[in-house]
């Protein structure tokens, strides 16, 4: 049947139409397998009698005709032409619970009478099968000749309507039309002037010129880029618990630019999936591969890197499946797909394309991109001074090593030949903040008592007999009573002392330097005398260290200027500001009249390293020397990239030279590779034409991308066209835009879908041509008003006898307010921005996010530029159904909730725009308040609804404003707090406030956030 029909299509136009009508669901003659029977089998039978071999019952498959009918000698479930004798028919009509299908245990609905009648007719007619419609080649059928429908889209749609006896709707009003097409193509509202111009333009090409203007606007790329970025799961942070920021905006800019230059969709596909594998890829092509770098990175402590690398690779396979094939390939992660011809093995062959990426739950390869660069207008960035040559570096290094070694050797010699005499001090008073006391031990050392205050401060008043004090030594000592013998009070005997200060005569006596016999990494003794309360001295030991924590230690602190105490007491303060209960346990303080020449532990270690030949140095020593060298020689330091926000290190795809082996992962578990099956070669789904060329090296991502956009591959263009169609009618011709498989919806207009898909390919994959084709159709331009007859004849508007009304996405809603207020800052691209958001959004996220609210016009950028943290999105997004970009999103929900009402009414960011619109009304329509009120209402309504108010609306708004003015006359303080100084320069506060509320009211009307 299939091949016959195909032949008929090709013979002549007449035959085509005839064949179409007879084979369609609407014709009464024959039952269509694909449109009427397959959905029934898929829904009720195939889970147990389908492609999934693990769950197949009774060894019966109903998805393949040969298996379903068996042979003449040994018939299976269906005897073509003989329903009564077919076991299938007997089972589905049986009332015996042991026999009936689907069995009661399957909890599937039984077939209805209408469904049974269809199945019976189908068996009577020979039980012919067809391939699954989505996998069949695109039909090559020209648009039908439909009376009164010169536009090819209308020809298809009107033909369908004619079979249903439904009339299409009239064209929408001009005001509605320009608002609709402007929102759809560029995501902004038309200005009142643009509306008047279009409404008054009598030329027959006025609409076409409007469409051309919109398609040429740079905002087109922003609008359609947003749709694409949903699918690319683009966001500005890494995801999971830590969710640190990342710089992926160059990829976002690439998408906008590619759409604006109408990069053919096949090339658009290839560059994003495999730009890095093109010969000598350009930087643009590398940035494009950011598409698959939008996967999450888990930076939580203790994570298994391999687990999240595998997860990202799976996400790449699943996203590719959803975006280009419209298939739920992810189902085959754990088992062969239950309904679609995707085996588990094939899934992992698809996964194999993505399994050799260099990035592994980390930033991976990047390219530096300057703001504006993607658009061919890079901002100027101060150039880095040229990197030093290797020879220069080598010379600086050897000079530094020589001078440092000589200096340290001299110091070391002095230190060992000039021993210092330390004298004890006498305590006058010792106290703590909490009142806890010290015990003075026999040797004069002090032992703190257990403290209730976790961040205790010790205050010691001391005297010394020395005439001059040049240095102080703090000895921390072990004691039996301390945890692990101390010397600290922490559970392990450690302490963190964050400050050690000396004061005499009420004056702080600064220390010049501090050294210690032992320091914990990152807890240097220098921390005692710097100004940072978060740095301090501690004594734990790093791995492999020979030092011990639980033994006596000492720190020596040299005063900047020797102190002459003259027998008077001086004070020492010891603070513990960092870790709770990390207090010094037992300690003694001593003083010296001369400053010791001390070699710090760091310097001592440096000297040991410098005295060795370079080849003998340990890894740790090499690192220590390198650090010290870079500290001393700034010119040798690597340039810090992060300093300039105009430069991003955009993450890109790169494969390992040596590809990883890919195994089938049992139940999708990365710890359970199926080694018995052996490594898998990358491959595509066998059920979808064309086969992947199998010559030479194993195929890579570039082969995959080219296969997706091969003219013989029927899925990519169908899926893409359907999704674009969906944006214009609220629903795709295939309603399940993400599932073109057996469980998905069947297309309402298969002929039109195929014709548009072919057109898309023939136009050189031009998305702009496709947009133009759709929006110039009468189908697109018709009114969205609900017609009483349609409530009955087509309640779901499947046959498109009218347009649809739907709520704007969160981004478009705010962008509409930005346009209406006149405040929109229309710059293109660049780093993401931080418009005002309410306090406390991060009160409970694990890591506090930085949200430096924009102070200048950056706060009025289009909403797609708002910084997106996956774990704590800008509240507007969550409230208005934006996805959280954890995974691919091809279609957003459109909810309608009280939280949306609260946002539009009270969000400070929106209220600011209402004030903006009020200022616009005041300045553009000056005059005495009562006299120009109607003008202002008119302008406000035109700015918000793109049409003047009708009489009802005008009266409602007039009454409201008047009522508010008189209310604010009684309450001028309230009026003042609702307005800006700029507004109050023009109007008195009650009038100004009333105009702000007028604007706010319009922003909250259904009409404002609805595209009609």
């Amino acid at each position: 049947m299939f091949s016959e029909t195909r032949l008929a299509w090709r013979s002549s136009l007449c035959a085509v139409v005839f064949a179409w009508i007879t084979s369609s669901a609407d014709g009464a003659d024959r039952v269509s397998f694909n449109e009427q029977i397959r959905p029934l089998l898929s829904d009720r039978c195939l889970a147990c009698h389908g492609p999934d071999e693990k769950h197949r019952e009774a060894d019966l498959r109903l998805d393949i005709r040969a298996e379903a009918i068996g042979t003449a000698d040994s018939p299976h479930a269906i005897l073509p032409g003989k329903p009564e004798q077919s076991p299938l028919w007997q089972r589905i009509t049986s009332t015996d619970p042991d026999l009936q299908m689907p069995p009661p245990a399957a909890k599937k609905p039984r077939f209805t009478a209408a469904e049974l009648a269809l199945l019976r007719r189908w068996i009577e007619e020979g039980a012919e099968y067809e391939g699954h419609w989505a996998f069949l080649p695109l039909r090559d059928e020209p648009p039908p000749a439909t009376a009164g429908a010169p536009h090819p889209v209308d020809a298809f749609v009107h033909r369908k309507l004619a079979t249903k006896n439904i009339k299409p709707s009239a064209e929408a009003e001009r005001t509605t039309l320009i608002r609709r097409v402007t929102l759809d193509l560029i995501g902004l509202l038309p200005s009142p002037d643009e509306v008047s111009e279009f409404v008054n333009d009598q030329s027959p090409t006025a609409y076409e010129r409007l469409v051309d203007r919109l398609l040429a606007s740079p905002h087109y790329g922003e609008r359609w880029g947003r749709h694409w970025l949903d699918q690319a799961r683009y966001a500005d942070s890494n995801g999971y618990a830590v969710d640190a920021p990342r710089e992926m905006w160059p990829y976002r800019d690439w998408v906008i630019d590619a759409l604006n230059r109408d990069l053919p969709f096949d090339q658009f596909t290839v560059e994003q999936l495999a730009g890095d594998l093109l010969p000598q890829p350009t930087k643009h092509q590398l940035i494009a591969t950011g598409f698959h770098r939008n996967t999450l990175i888990n930076q939580e402590g203790g994570t298994d890197r391999e687990q999240f690398r595998v997860e990202a690779a799976m996400d790449r396979a699943n996203t590719t499946g959803a975006v280009w094939m419209g298939l739920t390939v992810g189902c085959a992660q754990c088992h062969s797909h239950k309904f679609d011809p995707i085996s588990q093995r094939e899934y992992y062959q698809l996964f194999a394309f993505f399994n050799s990426a260099q990035d592994a739950n980390d930033r991976g390869p990047t390219v530096d991109v300057v703001r504006g660069e993607v658009f061919g207008q890079p901002v100027s960035v101060p150039r880095d001074s040229p990197a030093p040559t290797a020879a220069e570096l080598a010379k600086w290094r050897s000079d530094w090593e020589e001078t440092t070694r000589v200096r340290l050797e001299k110091l070391h010699q002095e230190a060992s030949t000039k021993p210092v005499e330390w004298s004890p001090v006498a305590s006058v008073e010792t106290r703590t903040e909490s009142g806890a006391t010290f015990t003075t031990l026999d040797d004069g050392s002090l032992l703190s008592s257990p403290m209730s205050t976790p961040h205790e401060t010790y205050h010691l008043t001391l005297t010394s007999g020395l005439p001059q004090i040049a240095a102080v030594r703090l000895r921390t000592l072990t004691h039996e009573s301390l945890p692990k013998r101390g010397p600290g009070r922490a559970g392990n005997g450690n302490f963190v002392l964050t400050a050690f200060a000396l004061a005499a005569n009420g004056q702080n006596q600064p220390f010049a330097r501090a050294t210690a016999d032992h320091e914990q990494p990152d807890f240097s003794v220098e921390g005692l005398i710097d100004a940072d309360p978060k740095s301090g001295w501690a004594i734990n030991v790093g791995p492999g260290s020979t030092a011990r924590m639980n033994s006596d230690h000492e720190a020596t602190l040299v005063l900047t200027k020797p102190l002459m105490p003259g027998g008077k007491p001086f004070e020492i303060t010891m603070r513990h500001d960092l870790n709770a209960n990390y207090l010094v346990g037992r300690f003694a303080i001593e003083v010296s009249a001369v400053a010791p020449t001390a070699v710090s532990t760091h310097d001592a270690a440096l000297l040991v390293a410098l005295q060795k030949p370079a080849g003998d140095r340990s890894k740790e020593e090499v690192a220590r020397l390198q650090n010290a060298f870079e500290k001393a020689e700034p010119r040798a330091r690597k340039v810090e990239k992060k300093a300039n926000p105009d430069v991003a290190q955009a993450m890109v795809m790169r494969d390992l030279l040596q590809h990883r082996e890919t195994f089938l992962l049992t139940r999708g578990d990365f710890t359970r590779p199926n080694k018995e099956l052996g490594p898998l070669v990358p491959g595509v789904l066998a059920a979808i034409a064309p086969p992947l060329g199998a010559e030479g090296a194993p195929p890579n991502r570039l082969d995959l991308a080219r296969w997706l956009v091969h003219p013989d591959n029927p899925l990519t263009s169908r899926v893409t066209v359907n999704r674009i169609w969906m944006r214009y009618f609220g629903r795709g011709m295939v309603e399940t835009d993400e599932d073109f498989g057996a469980q998905g919806a069947t297309p309402t207009h298969p002929d039109l879908l195929d014709w548009l898909s072919r057109e898309f390919q023939h136009s050189g994959w031009s998305q702009k041509s496709l947009h133009r084709l759709i929006v110039t159709s009468a189908t697109y331009k018709q009114s969205s008003r609900l017609r009483p007859d349609l409530v009955v004849s087509d309640p779901r508007n499947l046959w498109l006898a009218r347009q649809e009304r739907f709520r704007l996405e969160g981004e478009a809603a705010r962008d509409a307010a930005l346009t209406a207020s006149g405040l929109l800052e229309s710059a293109l691209g660049g780093p993401s921005v931080h418009p005002p958001q309410p306090d406390g959004v991060y009160a409970f996220t694990q890591v506090n996010k930085s949200w430096p609210t924009e102070k200048d016009r950056q706060r009025y950028r289009r909403t797609l530029y708002t910084f997106f943290y996956r774990s704590a999105p800008y509240p507007l997004f969550t409230t208005f159904d934006a996805p959280d970009f954890q995974a691919v999103c091809t279609r957003r929900l459109r909810s309608n909730t009280p939280l949306q009402a609260l946002t539009l009414a009270n969000d400070g960011a929106f209220f600011e725009l209402a004030q903006g619109l009020a200022l616009r009304l005041a300045t553009e329509r000056p005059g005495e308040f009562a006299a120009v009120l109607d003008d202002r209402i008119n302008l406000a309504t035109r700015a918000c609804f793109s049409r003047p108010p009708n009489e009802t609306e005008a009266k409602l708004l007039r009454d409201y404003v008047r009522q508010q003015v008189s209310s604010f006359r009684e309450d001028p303080a309230a009026a003042k707090s609702l307005t800006t100084p700029a507004l109050r320069q023009i109007l008195d506060a009650p009038e100004a406030a009333s105009l702000v509320l007028l604007a706010r009211t319009l922003f909250n009307a259904d009409n404002f956030i609805t595209r009609e």
Binding site: D243, P788, T845, D884, S895, N896, L899, D1006
Partner: protein, 481 residues
């Protein structure tokens, strides 16, 4: 092909039709429309009022849930699961079987067994052993069903919390509260159906995805109420707008919308009118909810609430006030139970503090609900995303690492046995030897108590019927009253 989206559309159009008296359609058309309606979708949502209360298919034992989520993973070995043998073997290497094939987040392999230094005693008729850390729990031992054989699949906080809340490790799926409100709607007219409250030093890892509605409509997402400032984002009108002015504002918006409804016939406008009315009511109902001044001094003292201070105790009291106002699902998060032994996370003072934060109010909530007759049809759940290892973990102090094979969680109220101990772990506490309850089983059981077969409460998304229990889960019959 009926998808839930289709179903929504159908419902919407039916409603549209019903509301369109003015459009002048006859009763015959109504019948034809209703006759053609598909019936397969498990839950029928009225798009004009998605939260309209719905009857579950089975007889429900509980009508609402308060879930006290102990974020970070409380140590069952310090609280509920006394292991004398572990104490005896402290410092010894764990049996090799306990390590082989297991994965831990931070353990290096040289850790030794660590007995609890807390003392335990048996309480109540059920003889549940409780540590000294939870003195207030003694009052509720016989009112609670103890699950000592809980297990999960995931050992990192973020994914494990997601697993406990959504049945999946990856973000993007609907949370338990979203499934519950999707299935049941909510009788609360003036408040959201699913409310989230938080306390502790920081938010739970994985954040908003824990109460996300995933692919379900956002009407079903958890609404976080905040302890300070506006309890709901954007709840307060801009300064200068009195209640009267706001009434005028809402009336004007509604009038504009009704006029547009006349013009276009789009029933979605009705939904918007309802949403605005609810928003207006929430502006008074939410602050009224947060105002604890009408609570008696005895109640405040029983919970341990200091007025004006956000705390877990205050949130427990708010949870009671929320369900009194017919909210369907209340979830509290309290951090930080992550007792690795590092700063702020030791098993000593830090652990004592979080126990103090939580003990009294958890017990007070159960007693208060009981006293008010609410416990019969309210489920209270108390537990974290996993447990802690029998081995010590060496950081600044000795703590415990994440453990997925055995931990304790308790459930009280509507439809579960009280004073019942379900499950037992081996003598060292590595894994259950009886009464193992997997996260999916817990979900299946809780849905059962709410009146759902967990395999039937589904939503079609991207070609697949998703459910809270993925493709697993078994109702734990033993704990049903």
């Amino acid at each position: 092909m009926t998808t839930s989206d289709n179903q929504l559309e159908l419902e919407r159009n039916r409603r549209q039709f019903l509301q369109q008296g003015g459009v002048g359609l006859g009763a015959i058309a109504l019948h034809s429309l209703l006759a053609g309606e598909a019936t397969a979708a498990p839950v029928k949502i009225d798009p004009a009022n998605p939260m309209a209360p719905r009857q579950p298919p089975l007889v429900p034992r509980a009508k609402r849930i308060i879930y006290l989520f102990m974020a970070g993973g409380p140590s069952q070995l310090e609280l509920f699961d006394d292991k004398p043998k572990l104490r005896e073997l402290t410092g010894q290497a764990p049996p090799p079987s306990s390590f082989s094939g297991k994965r831990f987040a931070f353990l290096k392999g040289n850790e030794t067994l660590l007995g609890s230094k807390r003392t335990f005693e048996r309480y109540g008729e059920c003889g549940m052993s409780l540590s000294e850390m939870l003195p207030h729990h003694r009052q509720i031992v016989d009112r609670v069903c103890w699950l000592r054989g809980m297990t999960t699949d995931v050992f990192n906080h973020g994914p494990a919390k997601l697993f406990m809340n959504t049945g999946f490790q990856a973000p993007g799926r609907p949370s338990f509260g979203s499934w519950a409100t999707y299935g049941l709607g909510s009788p609360a007219r003036d408040l959201p159906g699913f409310v989230v409250l938080q306390s502790g030093p920081r938010g739970p890892r994985a954040g908003a995805s824990l109460w996300s509605s995933g692919f379900l409509p956002t009407s079903f997402q958890g609404v976080p109420f905040r302890g300070k400032g506006d309890p709901i984002l954007h709840l307060n009108s801009p300064d200068g707008l009195t209640r009267d002015r706001e009434r005028n504002f809402h009336d004007t918006v509604a009038a504009l919308n009704r006029s547009r409804l006349q013009e276009t016939g789009d029933p979605e406008i009705l939904t918007r009118i309802n949403a605005y009315e609810m928003a207006f009511r929430m502006q008074t109902s939410a602050p009224e909810l947060m105002d604890l001044s009408e609570e008696s001094a005895t109640t405040l003292a029983a919970y341990g609430v200091s007025p004006g201070q956000p705390s877990f105790a205050a949130n427990c009291l708010l949870a009671r006030r929320l369900i009194e106002r017919d909210v369907r699902f209340v979830q509290l998060y309290h951090t930080n139970w992550d007792s690795h032994g590092g700063p702020g996370e030791n098993l000593n003072a830090d652990f004592e503090k979080v126990c103090r934060d939580v003990d009294q109010a958890s017990a007070a909530l159960v007693l208060d609900l009981e006293q008010r007759g609410l416990l019969d049809d309210t489920l209270v759940i108390w537990g974290g995303e996993f447990g802690r290892t029998p081995m010590g973990e060496n950081r600044d102090t000795i703590g415990r690492d994440h453990h997925i094979d055995a931990f304790t969680l308790w459930v009280a109220g509507g439809g579960v046995k009280s004073g019942y101990i379900h499950g037992e772990t081996d003598e060292l506490g590595f894994g259950p030897i009886a009464g193992k309850v997997h996260v999916h089983d817990l979900h299946a059981t809780l849905l059962h108590l709410l009146g759902f077969d967990h395999e039937q409460l589904t939503y079609r998304f991207q070609g697949r019927d998703y459910r809270l229990t993925d493709v697993h889960g078994k109702v734990v019959e033993e704990i049903l009253a």
